[in-house]
Symmetry: C2
Subunit: 299 residues, 2 copies
Amino acid sequence: MSTKLLDLVNIVDNSPYKNTLSSDNLGLTYFLSHDGVVLGKIIKKTLEHLKYVEWLEIENNTVRITDSKDLSSKFAKLTSQWRSEDKFDCLRGWRDELYTCYTTGGKKYFDIERSAACIFGLVTYGCHITGYIPDLKKIWVPRRSYKKPTFPGMLDNTVAGGLGDGLSFKECAVKECKEEANIEEDYARKNLVSVGVLTYEFIHPETGFYQPEVESIYDLIMAPDVVPKVNDGEVHEFMLMSYTEVIERLLKGEFKYNCALVIIDFLIRHGEIDIDSEPDYIEITSRCHRMLEYPLRRV
Amino acid sequence: MSTKLLDLVNIVDNSPYKNTLSSDNLGLTYFLSHDGVVLGKIIKKTLEHLKYVEWLEIENNTVRITDSKDLSSKFAKLTSQWRSEDKFDCLRGWRDELYTCYTTGGKKYFDIERSAACIFGLVTYGCHITGYIPDLKKIWVPRRSYKKPTFPGMLDNTVAGGLGDGLSFKECAVKECKEEANIEEDYARKNLVSVGVLTYEFIHPETGFYQPEVESIYDLIMAPDVVPKVNDGEVHEFMLMSYTEVIERLLKGEFKYNCALVIIDFLIRHGEIDIDSEPDYIEITSRCHRMLEYPLRRV
């Protein structure tokens, strides 16, 4: 088996670093706020759909918002129209869930339908929870429902979810624990431990969309009587898997790609992957904590 | 008190990122291997001393090794000569300890006296150990000896040390536990947990030297009867300090600067600093795991 942990990182953090290729070489256009703050990056084939938007100005290598009044409504109207005209495949996965775009100082700038954030290459936020039994060195691993539109049947983190507008990361994690794994809110609220954040820049291999992501990471010790249960149709089954088996399945490519990063980070923090035995250790930790040069959410 | 955790990170990871200032603006010259690999960055005032070194070629914005034969001996001879002529203040802290410079694939390229690595802006490696009592939420914090040449009297990590040529990180950590804190080798070897690595680019405020650093991080649970003791004159005293007090003293600037990073990382991994309450959380984690664009040590 020639797969390495770094190969898994390369799949997720796959946007070139500046010393290798400039973003311009990828044909990405900077997406700017009305006052010139870079909010994201837009791929070339999106530009044709933006030409006719009167509150956007395309110039040189930038797309700029010219009028910031009622921006959330403007995006809602635009994305709904695109959806009804079936302009973008990604909007077929319309979620009716709003994501927030932040500007300087971490202030909310506007919100936008979740499935449309990638069109503008905006930073998206989520939370990932690893439910584990330290004494047994085992992790509760779900298999995604075979009916999910994205990554059906792949292995996943115990619980994970996108951060909707107005939620704290912790409340998002608590909510997802209940929805996805039937873990009681009280138990989750008391036992979830915030242990870090992963950041990476993902270019979707099929659509070419550029997607910088922030994943808030939680460890959750699972007491013997806290057994995750399939709840909302997102999960096919939960399996209690030893750290060793988790690593084997990671290297076989069975985990959803960004979930692999969360597991690798877990195994590093818990001493199961060691700097003296993993050749790519230093690069892996940097690549999971990439410096995102955009205004980010702040509390 | 206006100090923030990010202010502490800014002191250590203080080399500009590419979107703000290019390295060239700092007057740094690339230091290249004989086959063109960038190994480090050299400050302008060092160049005059390199002009007369026959196995180095200064050209445009680079200093290149022209002859890689017996490179370790070449560096030993050159740095000894500089020391005897008192060319660089940093060599007054001569350690008689060799550091390794790696090249492509993480292979050893040469070794060099520890106190001279900064002259060439080479990546240096160390290990930092946080000895803690989880049930009490306390950390064993040493005050550095008032006689140390660097950062006398400041607070430090429980144990820390530079990685000498030929050692593994773990063996380095075990050795330093004994030397600095009188923690038995058996106990250290059994209980040290590798939990990550921190990377940052430090520009020394006084000398201007550029120093990329890699610090391998270990957590060490301290049993009630394992009490660190002053051993080798590096430490003035050990104090058992609550997490709360540690944070207070961090913000007062009492910790040696790069040790502050290790403590911040510890408090993040243990849930004491939370993404929903620390405004700079995301930036802090990226800045402690900076992508170092040099060939790095591999196992």
